[in-house]
Symmetry: C2
Subunit: 139 residues, 2 copies
DNA sequence: TTATATGCAAATGATTTGCGTAGTC
DNA sequence: GACTACGCAAATCATTTGCATATAA
């Protein structure tokens, strides 16, 4: 609940934002911490978490709640799907925007009022596919 | 990794299985623990977790890895989608099986080898809709 | 008998929070 | 100067694991 008052532009907030927008990867909070730490060595993990939360609340970044794992963060705020590699765990964008027909599937089938859906693909990334069966390309 | 040896039919394993199949809800590990505890008061949470893991490995139940929250467990093993209510957090089945066209979206768009997808709907359940905006119907 | 399971408690990993100080507006 | 944000460390929450004992086969 950080919905009151003024939001200040701090060094750490700005650097987190910058790094997140520069990256095409979708880092976890801890990865953001490690990256930002190179520029601001005294930043704390708690600050990173707090800022990621605030930035995503304000719609400046996107919080990805993926099944079963840590949250990841995305500098791109447009709604789009993601693919995760089962081998190395990396997450990438899928160029398609929301598939409109998907929500329709639920019409008449369910008595829920559907607000949105979350779709996530699982597969093997080209790097791991090439690397054979034990590719550990961490991203 | 419980893929070796023999799997024994213990009291606790059987009761967990029974309760999970009896319920249409999709309880979390802790909820399973509370439910089973009524019949086996001395069971431990660790045992519940271990058994849920083993049962899902053997395909006897389904582990649902939903975005952002605890895992939930389902006595129904057929592949199907779920809807979650944002108000009360309950999770229910959607009668539709996997939508075949979904994986096709990724063909040609991505260089990933798509294995499967995970689709989850978010909406408001009929109970909460009726109850107005503050319905807290926990399931 | 003998390996697999259990109960208990401590360990882990991700994320959150309280508190006193520092920095932005 | 007032109030938000930070750094640090401790707290939480979900889940896992080590170990000595109990139990199914």
């Amino acid at each position: 609940m950080a919905a009151k008052g003024q939001v200040r532009t701090t060094q750490q907030r700005r650097v987190i934002m910058e790094e997140l927008c520069r990256l095409k990867s979708h880092p976890t909070a801890n990865e953001v911490y490690e990256i930002v730490r190179k520029r601001l060595p005294r930043i704390s993990l708690g600050t990173v978490y707090r800022n990621l939360e605030i930035l995503s609340e304000r719609g400046m970044i996107q919080k990805l709640e993926m099944a079963g794992t840590q949250k990841r963060f995305d500098g791109i705020t447009e709604n789009h799907y993601h693919v995760r590699c089962i081998m190395c765990g990396c997450v990438e964008d899928v160029s398609s925007g929301p598939i409109p027909t998907i929500n329709k599937v639920l019409n008449g089938v369910s008595d829920y009022q559907i607000l949105w859906h979350r779709l996530e693909f699982v597969g093997i990334c080209p790097r791991c596919r090439e690397a054979g069966t034990q590719g550990i390309t961490s991203t």
